[in-house]
């Protein structure tokens, strides 16, 4: 088949459908990954031993366990104990686990780097511990964690491709199916690569702008 015809009538439409799924996966997982990451970091840093210890275990497990295995557990493993998730939902949950664990590490580092005096001054004004964390410590920590969290977001873009391994046909999956059918691997994967590189590059630029926007003189 003519490469041009293949590209325009078969590959691009298929990849477009896949891209939509990829974007949906990312857009669903990222906000929860961020919120859970903040929660885990705050719990580990300021929580009692009964909160911080289990959270530490959670982070160690997620960081040590390959994401693909985590997805297998969620999609192939959970039905054996009666929990059935759609491929999309299993993927999103896996991504949230992964994203939140890594984000929490960056946020926790940033929380610990906020000078002790900030908490003391906040409490001296009558803020409760939670108010001090919420209004004084976290805003400073999150700014500092932006580069790390950007990295994690980029990882999320890339790791979203693993959803295909549990049958959620996203960008990579859509391409793989077409490539196998028409036996045009080089063409297909070069186009897929271009799409990922575009997503990653745009994210990097946007994150730099975000960091500048929130920057505070130091």
């Amino acid at each position: 088949m003519d490469t041009f015809v293949f590209l325009t009538t078969i590959l691009l439409p298929a990849l477009f459908d896949g891209l939509i799924v990829t974007l949906e996966l990312i857009a669903t997982a990222a906000p929860f990954g961020l919120l859970a990451g903040i929660g885990v970091a705050v719990g580990r840093t300021y929580g009692s031993r009964w909160i911080s210890l289990p959270l530490r275990g959670y982070v160690a497990f997620i960081k040590g366990c390959p994401l693909l295995l985590l997805l297998f557990i969620l999609y192939f493993g959970l039905p054996s104990i009666g929990i059935r998730l759609s491929p999309f939902l299993a993927s999103v949950i896996g991504f949230i686990f992964c994203n939140s664990a890594y984000n929490s590490e960056y946020i926790r580092g940033a929380l610990l780097s906020v000078k002790e005096g900030q908490m003391i001054a906040a409490q001296a004004l009558g803020m409760s511990r939670w108010q001090s964390i919420r209004y004084i410590i976290l805003p400073q920590a999150l700014r500092r964690a932006i580069p790390g969290m950007t990295n994690e977001f980029i990882y999320l873009i890339k790791y979203s491709s693993l959803a295909f391994m549990i049958t959620a046909v996203e960008l990579t999956g859509a391409g793989k199916l077409v490539a196998t059918k028409y036996f045009l691997f080089n063409e297909t994967f070069v186009v897929i690569a271009i799409v990922y590189l575009f997503l990653v590059t745009v994210t990097t630029v946007a994150a730099n702008m975000l960091e500048k926007k929130f920057a505070v003189p130091t």
């Binding site: 040590g64 390959p66 080089n186």
Partner: protein, 225 residues
């Protein structure tokens, strides 16, 4: 009880997968090191052409999912070069290695750039060539500074090896999945395998920490980077 006996039967099979996983990790860390360090030097000391070629390389390999790289090389590039018969394991080493080189080069680059100008100046003032200065003064310092960051590559590569399942490398996860399909035992196997990965992760980090301690020089490198 039955489950345990069944699982015991499979241990030799899984053990071979473990060896493949470790092989992938070591080979790709090594390939990454062999290519990553010269790339870092090229990106700092090279001419414009070298610098931009390396930048594009890094951008490419860091911007793509492992699975896309694996598919591209396994189904696309290798067959195009009439190397369809190359085993998946080798393709995986090539992909993880080339990708590792991209990441490692940036770790080394940061470390080298953190060494003060004065070190190069002092070395040159002693009559060393640029190459000698890099070899005997800059690198010994930079490699020590890079070690913690380099150590962090280990858990990343370890967990990435599982993705090689996608092209049928007979590593730990692939074999675990086969075992699940044969035995219909799912959760116990997956959780046990997760435990193995976490253990490997832990043991590897311990070993690398020891290496850091062993190579450290009193008062040097604290807080650098």
């Amino acid at each position: 009880m039955d489950i345990i006996i069944i699982l015991l039967d499979w241990i030799p099979y899984l053990f071979l997968g473990l060896l493949q996983t470790l092989g992938l990790v070591l080979a790709s860390l090594a390939v990454g090191l062999i290519f990553g360090l010269p790339m870092a030097l090229g990106q700092i000391y090279g001419n414009r052409l070298i610098k931009s070629v390396i930048s594009v390389y890094v951008w490419f390999f860091r911007g793509l999912p492992v699975i896309v790289l694996l598919f591209l090389f396994f189904f696309g590039i290798f067959p195009s070069l009439n190397m369809s018969s190359v085993p998946p394991f080798v393709v995986a080493v090539v992909v993880l290695g080339l990708r590792g080189a991209a990441y490692q080069s940036q770790i080394f680059r940061g470390a080298i750039q953190s060494i003060s100008e004065g070190q190069m100046t002092a070395a040159r003032s002693l009559g060393m060539t640029r190459f000698q200065a890099i070899r005997h003064v800059i690198l010994p310092q930079a490699l020590r500074i890079a070690l913690p960051g380099w150590s962090n590559e280990y858990p990343t590569v370890l967990t990435d090896t599982a993705i090689c399942y996608a092209i049928g490398v007979q590593e730990l996860l692939t074999r675990a999945t086969y075992m699940v399909a044969q035995t219909y035992i799912t959760m116990p196997i997956y959780l046990a395998i997760a435990g193995v990965y976490i253990l490997l992760n832990y043991a590897g980090m311990k070993a690398l920490n020891m290496l850091e301690k062993k190579t450290s020089i009193p008062g040097f490198g604290q807080g650098a980077l």
